[in-house]
Amino acid sequence: MAHSKYLAHHFTDLEQQSDSAKLGMWLFLLTEILLFGGVFVAYAVYRVWHPDTFINAHKELNVVLGTVNTLVLIVSSLTVALAIRDMQLDKRKSCMRNLILTIVLAGVFLVIKYFEYSHKIHLGQLPGKFYTFQGVEGTNPHIFFSIYFLLTGIHGFHILIGMSLLTWMFLKVRKGHFSSEYFVPIEVVGLYWHLVDLIWIFLFPLLYLIG
């Protein structure tokens, strides 16, 4: 049996090798769900304790910017999925284009987030003891902004890491490291990127669209 140049010696074949890589990534994604889960639990507890505060405080968030960011992330999820498909079909140029598009969309997301953050910092809608804003009716409004900054902050950090990983993948594709025979690193980075999108799919209604 001919050995692939991509096959590490401790695996039987490429399929087992890529299955192992993907399983490792899924186990990591499981821990990511629990990482965000901690803040989601805090959200649930405090929202039930201070329902009026959450309703009133969420009106301070910009629904238009939040919606645009949701659409941007969904399209970036689509482009990364298409990049992986391109690699499966050995379309290297198209794969590079889709990866660049994903990175640019991630950048757009962060720029919009930057404007949202600077507006909140300007108004003093900050977490915990840094909260100086006076316009929210209800008990302990600073808690909403603590949770807002925690959730979107950890999420934004994931976007940054995702952008770095996507850039790394782009460089490897450009150097011709991958082919339709071996592309599991892009697949695994893609899984990570989709999870970042998944988390945002829940963050968005929980923070911006509280009924």
Binding site: L23, L30, K129, Y131, Q134, N140, I201, P205
Partner: protein, 143 residues
């Protein structure tokens, strides 16, 4: 064990259809959020439930098609569901505590629910105790 040696290649139209559905559902969830379903139905949770149903639908589409769970080895799906199950246990058991601890021991339920007034919190309450007489009456100290 699976015996296929070729990776499943999702047709382009599937990706585009899923992407379109996700964009559509995003617009729907935003529009629905402007309708006060809680008032119409006389409850407190209908808007929240509708938003979560739409979010879960979107998440399922991403996981099944973009993340290939529908085609891949089902053990990955199992891993994801195990994570979600752990999260559910985390949320439900915590909520049982925070929501019902007052019914088991009324004294323990109180100090956490009764917080300081709206635009004040503990550090500032201390500070204003010294600076102004009028605010000292309204501030209570959480334990």
């Amino acid at each position: 064990m699976t015996h296929h040696h070729k990776h499943h290649i999702t047709p382009l139209w599937v990706y585009l259809a899923i992407g379109g559905a996700l964009l559509f559902l995003t617009v729907v969830t935003v529009l629905v959020s402007f309708v006060n379903l809680n008032e119409i139905t006389g409850t407190h949770t209908v808007n929240f439930i509708v938003a979560m149903i739409i979010a879960t639908t979107k998440a399922t589409l991403v996981a099944l098609f973009f993340m290939h769970l529908i085609y891949d080895n089902k053990f990955y799906l199992f891993t994801l569901l195990a994570g979600i199950l752990c999260l559910m246990i985390f949320i439900v058991i915590t909520m049982f505590d925070t929501e019902f601890r007052g019914q088991v021991n009324p004294d323990e339920g109180r100090p956490i629910v009764e917080q300081v007034p709206s635009d004040r919190f503990i550090e500032r309450a201390h500070h204003e105790d010294h600076s102004s007489e009028t605010h000292s009456e309204t501030t209570t100290h959480a334990e």
